[in-house]
């Protein structure tokens, strides 16, 4: 039995094909999100990789920002539910999931049975999303991928404390102008994102295992800062970006079984 999970984000489209609700036989990430041909490209890519045809799929679930306009799915489910399912599949002991995406941040709380019992999404005025990292990286003329290495090399991380992103940008620029070490600045930026989201997490209550999901989970600078802020080990999967699609594929499997 094959099920397909499609996660259409604001900037990326992800697909996962699951065999019998257990094994991932193919996945795809395309850097084009909702409103583009990204979802379609991703779907075609994952089918090709798996060697299957659309008709071989028993059920398709779509999730993410662009889920309501996607026509190839049998059902749509929110990305929170899907991230919970996806992370749980990889870390059965996961009880708190922190998902920092491009546009927003979410914290999910699961019970012993792995069922989501509470969730929180970021307030509008929070500088704690992937977007913030993108903006800062651009100001510092770095690639997003460089942030982790630079943060790790920091000797005296600076503090970027503004709640407002506009003010935070101004803080970063002032620090640059003052000649602060780039590494220290990057570490500060990562800490700033971690701190914003950590406060969301504290509101819901931290229960271990704590796992990070979503694109930003791959950024060790943010992960380490988060771990420090919360005082717990943070788990994540190298396929963190695929957790939503994985969860959707699992949900699809649950629908037909």
């Amino acid at each position: 039995m094959y099920t397909l999970g499609v996660d259409i984000g604001s900037t990326t489209s992800k697909c996962v094909i699951l065999e019998d609700g257990k094994k991932v036989i193919a996945s795809s990430i395309v850097t084009a999100g909702t409103g583009t041909n990204g979802p379609d490209k991703s779907r075609k890519e994952v089918l090709e990789k798996s060697g299957l045809k659309q008709d071989d799929l028993n059920y398709v679930v779509v999730t993410g920002y662009g889920r309501s306009t996607y026509t190839y799915a049998d059902a749509e489910i929110s990305e929170l539910t899907c991230h919970a399912l996806g992370v749980q599949h990889v870390f059965p002991d996961a009880r708190t999931i922190i998902d920092i995406g491009g546009q927003d941040a979410k914290v999910l709380s699961l019970n012993e049975k792995g069922r989501m019992v509470n969730f929180l999404m970021n307030d509008k005025c929070a500088a704690g999303t992937g977007r913030f990292l993108d903006v800062m990286a651009r100001i510092l003329q770095l690639d997003i991928g460089d942030l982790e290495v630079k943060a790790a090399a920091a000797k005296h991380p600076v503090k970027i404390s503004s709640t407002c992103t506009v003010f935070a940008e101004s803080e970063v620029i002032s620090q640059l102008a003052a000649g602060v070490e780039l590494n220290d600045l990057v570490a500060g930026i990562c800490s700033s994102v971690a701190s914003r989201v950590a406060s969301l997490a504290k509101r819901i209550g931290i229960r271990e295992k704590v796992c990070m999901s979503g694109g930003v989970a791959r950024n060790g600078g943010v992960r380490n800062a988060m771990s420090k802020e919360l005082g717990v080990e943070i788990f994540y999967s190298p396929s963190a970006q695929l957790m939503g699609a994985l969860g959707a594929a699992l949900a699809a499997y649950n629908k037909v079984n």
């Binding site: 920002y65 929110s78 929170l80 539910t81 989501m116 969730f119 999404m121």
Partner: protein, 376 residues
């Protein structure tokens, strides 16, 4: 069914077109006075032959009001001022604004300079409202409102007329309570339609609205109870009237079985006692003493938290959605205790941030959908 749909269409039309209502009353030669959130002595306005109309703002872009309000004042205040500045309230004789929260105080002060052609009438309510001294102070506030209304409209006040209006409002309160209870058994009436019925009350004379509501209740009773099993929700917050938000509730198969919304059921919980006081003005003052369970009504015991828990239990709700108006600090303070009480009672709840300038409902959509998935 046809009668029902006709009435729903009528409620909808009134709710969506307050301006049409305003023009209609003005063309009849009636005077209209705006009543700002959260509570005002509408009965007094009504008793003087003036039509009270609710001014709770609108879902519009804020431009002119930014000259007066910094960004962190709630969008209800901002949009009320915006509507005033841009002439949308032209023709009304005055605006009645209570000082129940810090931002309302600011609305009143700014109004004097931002909308010079519509007089501002302050209503100063006591927070220590239950004591004799509190009642007296409420009465003093009402007397001042009467004086200002007389000046602004030329109308005059009489104790006898106020008794009549009190009865009209008590009747309306009862009708709205009955309606809210009845709707629990008719899930086919969706969230948008329920909202229309409540919202339209602000743009009509209360006796006219009561008549419509009674017609609706009769028609509803004649139709069969809905068979759809929807997810039962209690809503809480200042406002929940955004069409986009209500559509999301409907899309997620949710039914509003009760509400703790400021411009909905909070207005109809307490009637004026028509037996204990000799003077109608004293009776109306006493009504305010009896009010509570609201973020702008002082209560050191925070009974509101338990009130919401009981509301959820009594209506058989599966969960509570708190529509948090951004920048509303009274609600923000209460939210902590409300959620704690709901958690203790094992009633699931979630908070959705809303404001009148929302262009993007994606986060609300995801959160409400997730909440539904959690409850299923």
């Amino acid at each position: 069914m046809d009668v029902l749909n006709k009435l729903l269409a009528e409620f909808h039309d009134i709710a969506e077109n307050p301006d049409k209502q305003l023009q209609s009353y003005l063309s009849e030669g009636k005077k209209v006075v705006l009543c700002a959130p959260v509570y005002t002595p509408e009965e007094i306005v009504h008793s003087m032959g003036i039509v009270p109309m609710g001014a709770w703002g609108a879902d519009i872009e804020i431009k002119e009001a930014k000259k007066y309000f910094p960004a962190f004042i709630c969008s209800i205040m901002q949009s009320i001022l915006e509507l005033g500045i841009t002439g949308k309230y032209k023709g009304v004789s005055a605006i009645l604004i209570p000082s129940l929260c810090d931002s309302l105080k600011c609305l009143g002060q700014n109004w004097k300079y931002a909308v010079k052609d519509i007089p501002f009438i302050p209503m100063t309510y006591p927070q220590n409202r239950a004591s004799e001294a509190g009642k007296k102070f409420t009465r003093a506030g009402y007397e001042r409102v009467i004086k200002d209304l007389e000046k602004a409209t030329g109308a005059s006040f009489s104790e006898e007329s106020l008794w009549n209006s009190i009865r009209v409002y008590n009747t309306h309160n009862a009708a709205m309570r009955k309606l809210s209870d009845l709707l629990v058994e008719y899930p086919q009436i969706n969230a948008s339609q329920r909202s229309d019925i409540f919202k339209s009350a602000y743009f009509m004379k209360k006796e006219e609205h009561t008549e419509l509501v009674n017609k609706f209740v009769r028609a509803l009773r004649e139709s069969s109870k809905g068979k759809d099993k929807k997810i039962k929700i209690v809503t809480s917050g200042i406002l929940a009237d955004s069409r986009n938000l209500l559509n999301i509730l409907d899309d997620n198969n949710m039914q509003v079985v009760g509400d703790d919304i400021a411009d909905e059921s909070r207005q109809y919980r307490v009637d004026t006692d028509t037996k204990s006081e000799k003077s109608s003005l004293d009776a109306l003052s006493a009504k305010f003493s009896d009010m509570g369970n609201c973020s702008v009504l002082y209560d050191a015991d925070k009974k509101r938290a338990d009130y919401i828990v009981n509301l959820a239990k009594n209506t058989g709700a599966n969960g509570v959605i708190i529509f948090m108006t951004k920048f509303c600090d009274p609600e923000e303070f209460d939210c902590v205790f409300v959620r704690k009480a709901l958690d203790s009672a094992d009633i699931p709840s979630t908070v959705i941030e809303v404001d009148r300038q929302m262009a993007n409902y994606e986060q609300a959509k995801t959160a409400i959908q997730t909440f539904k998935e959690m409850l299923s």
